[in-house]
Amino acid sequence: MSVARSDRRSRPIPRGRPAARSASHLRVVRPRRAPRRIPFLLASFVLIGLLVTGVVITQALVSQGSFRMRELAREVASLQQANGDLRREVADLSAPERLADEARRLDLVLPEHVYVLTVNERSGRPAGSSLGERTGGEGPGTGAP
């Protein structure tokens, strides 16, 4: 190939001149090196490897995220349930009927007399020990709601 190229460059030999003279223009052309394939292949493998690893990692992260989301969703549901249960417990325990039952169980009774003290505005002390009239009712009636 290189010979052919050098042929293209060489001038045409004039007629009548000796061939030896034109031979002095010839020279040895060193063959060109074949291109190196190994680094290219290596680089390709590394690139492909990186890409595959990236895809796998991404997939793993996506799956991990999905699992985590499901886990969190379950945790949210569980916390919501716990919150609901606690709210319900508070409301159930504060229900007037339960409180009345509990009070009866503990033998608590409403005061027979309720006294109203009128505070003297000047001295800030009660004006008299008791001024009030009886206002208290009986204990909670039976057959409560």
């Binding site: 609901g84 319900r88 504060s94 229900a95 009345a100 009886r134 206002t135 009712g137």
Partner: protein
């Protein structure tokens, strides 16, 4: 070569011609639309106690086409949900249906146990279930919701839109195994939770009111009763009890008649408690001076009807205060006659009869008040003594609240405000008001009503130290199928306010068909019991005794 062309043609068909169709099919396969239910708001008492609350729950459904082993599935589902195995089997084998509810309102823990079994053909939907922690407390006020979470009765129905909120939705992508692809959410519209509704009801007072009402109904062998406690200045209904009641947690098991809030829905003939209208009108119009006496016979004939007093007496000289105090029918008719039909009808309307109070309760009755143009000769005297007119207990309580509030009618209300998503309380606008009679007239009528409790028919309602102003009512019930009134069936009531000279609360006690028919005997003690509790709970101080009004009939 021909084969290659064939393949190329098919490729073009798939990738170009039908591309959009297949894209859509693929999209449908991997996209899933999820409805995100909004949590229903709570109903709170005036101090923030939850009277109705929503808890997260799940609905369990079956897709019979996907159930492989119906017997095994039915057994497992029935065991966890505590259902009848046969019924579950019927549900999971229902031919032709792709969606059959098995159970609704299942708590999350129980639903979770079922989900873990991963039974093919069994699915779950997010929802909530309503819980009423105090059971039957104010049940006819609260109402209840249906299985789909919508309000069906009472305030649950009235404020359904406010409580329901707005459901959201999400469109998500999932892989073939049904696992959500996290980054692929295409649409996400979060739900807007419902607002909480804060009532004017005080749970402790409501409990006492219900307990006292139940005792009174049993003691008087009555058919039922209603009891209302109201703030006369704001119109706030602090307690509203209707007996018998039901548990809204199990409303389906109660008789439908128990769902009715009879205090607002049912109209009745009020009887003598209505005499306060004629008295107020007479004083306001200056037609009957307070010290003027009427010669009141035992009975009076008007057209074809004879009206008579409850007890025998000769001709009595009675002032307006005496007529109110001793609940004279004949005297009240004479006063109403002095006022005249036109004026009297006008006062009835101004006191709120014949129109809904505006509380907004579903099914609220406007009562029955015929237009004055259609009145006969006996309509005026009949209405003067509380017949030929239909009122609700709340309307009647509002009349006494008007006197207690210095002559200004205030629209009763059950809702104080709402709590929005962020937790901010938004107060409801104050109730509408209108002046019905002057402050002086209200004061004069208060003195008469207080005197009626001190020495008249309402003695059993008195609370020494506070002083009660009120009136008894004993009304015969109309016959169900023909004209006329029953001799056996009565409505006994006592409506009043206390302290008489500085009113803090109005109590209306109404008993339906008590064995002891008189309001002063059957209903006045109930008034006293509840009023005492309310005074103590609301920490109302005692007040001075109101002055005695001019009277001519000697007292006790």
């Amino acid at each position: 070569m021909l084969g290659l062309f064939g393949i190329l043609a098919r490729l073009v068909e798939l990738q170009v011609a039908d591309a959009s169709t297949y894209q859509e099919m693929a999209r449908e396969q991997r996209l899933r639309s999820i409805v995100l239910p909004a949590s229903r708001g709570s109903i709170l008492d005036r101090d923030g106690y939850e009277l109705a609350m929503s808890l997260p729950a799940k609905a369990v459904f079956a897709d019979p086409a996907l159930v492989r082993d119906p017997l095994e599935v039915a057994r497992a589902v029935a065991a966890i949900l505590d259902l009848d195995e046969g019924e579950v089997y019927d549900a999971v084998t229902k031919a032709g249906d792709r969606f059959v509810y098995i159970e609704r309102g299942v708590d999350l823990v129980t639903a979770g146990r079922l989900e873990e079994l991963e039974l093919p053909g069994i699915g779950f939907l997010e929802e909530s279930r309503r819980h009423y922690p105090a059971g039957a407390l104010a049940s006819q006020v609260l109402g209840f919701v249906g299985t789909d979470g919508g309000g069906l009765e009472g305030l649950e129905l009235q404020h359904d839109r406010l409580l329901s909120g707005r459901p959201g939705h999400a469109v998500v992508e999932e892989d073939p195994s049904g696992t959500l692809i996290p980054q692929a959410a295409i649409e996400d519209v979060p739900p807007v939770p419902g607002n909480d509704v804060v009532l004017t009801i005080d749970k402790d007072l409501q409990y006492r009111a219900q307990a006292s009402l139940a005792s009174a109904v049993r003691a008087n062998k009555a058919k039922g009763g209603t009891l209302i406690v109201m703030d006369p200045h704001t119109g706030d209904i602090l307690a509203l009890a209707v007996y018998p009641w039901f548990d809204p947690n199990e409303f389906a098991e109660a008789e439908e008649r128990l769902w009715r809030n009879t205090a607002l829905i049912d109209a009745y003939e009020p009887g003598s408690v209505n005499k306060v209208i004629a008295a107020s009108a007479a004083v306001e119009e200056g037609l009957v001076p307070l010290n003027e006496t009427f010669s009141v016979p035992e009975q009076i004939q008007i057209y074809d009807r004879v009206y008579h007093d409850d007890h025998s007496h000769g001709v009595l000289q009675m002032t307006l205060a005496d007529i109110v105090t001793h609940s004279s029918n004949v005297g009240a008719i004479m006063v109403a006659d002095a006022v005249g039909a036109g004026h009297f009808a006008d006062y009835l309307q101004r006191f709120g009869f014949g129109a809904r109070t505006g509380v907004g309760f579903p099914g609220e009755s406007p009562g029955i008040l015929d237009p004055v143009g259609s009145w006969t000769g006996t309509t005026l005297p009949s209405i003067a003594i509380g017949q030929a007119i239909g009122v609700t207990s709340v309307q009647m309580a509002a009349v006494y609240a008007t006197i207690a509030n210095g002559g200004v009618w205030v629209r009763p209300r059950l809702v104080r405000g709402t709590v929005e998503e962020g937790g901010a309380f938004v107060a409801a606008p104050p109730s509408d008001t209108r002046r019905v009679v002057s402050g002086r007239t209200a004061q004069a009528v208060t003195r008469m009503l207080s005197f009626a409790v001190q020495v008249g028919t309402g003695e059993a309602a008195e609370i020494p130290g506070f002083w009660v102003a009120g009136k008894t009512g004993t009304a015969r019930k109309p016959l169900p199928n023909r004209l006329g009134y029953s001799e056996e069936r009565h409505i006994a009531s006592f409506i009043g306010f206390t302290p008489a000279s500085r009113p803090a609360l109005v109590v209306a006690a109404v008993l339906d068909e008590p064995e002891t028919v008189y309001g002063g005997i059957a209903a006045a003690p109930l008034f006293q019991d509840v009023a005492r509790s309310a005074l103590a709970l609301l920490r109302v101080p005692p007040a001075a005794k109101p002055p005695t009004p001019p009277h001519a009939v000697p007292t006790g």
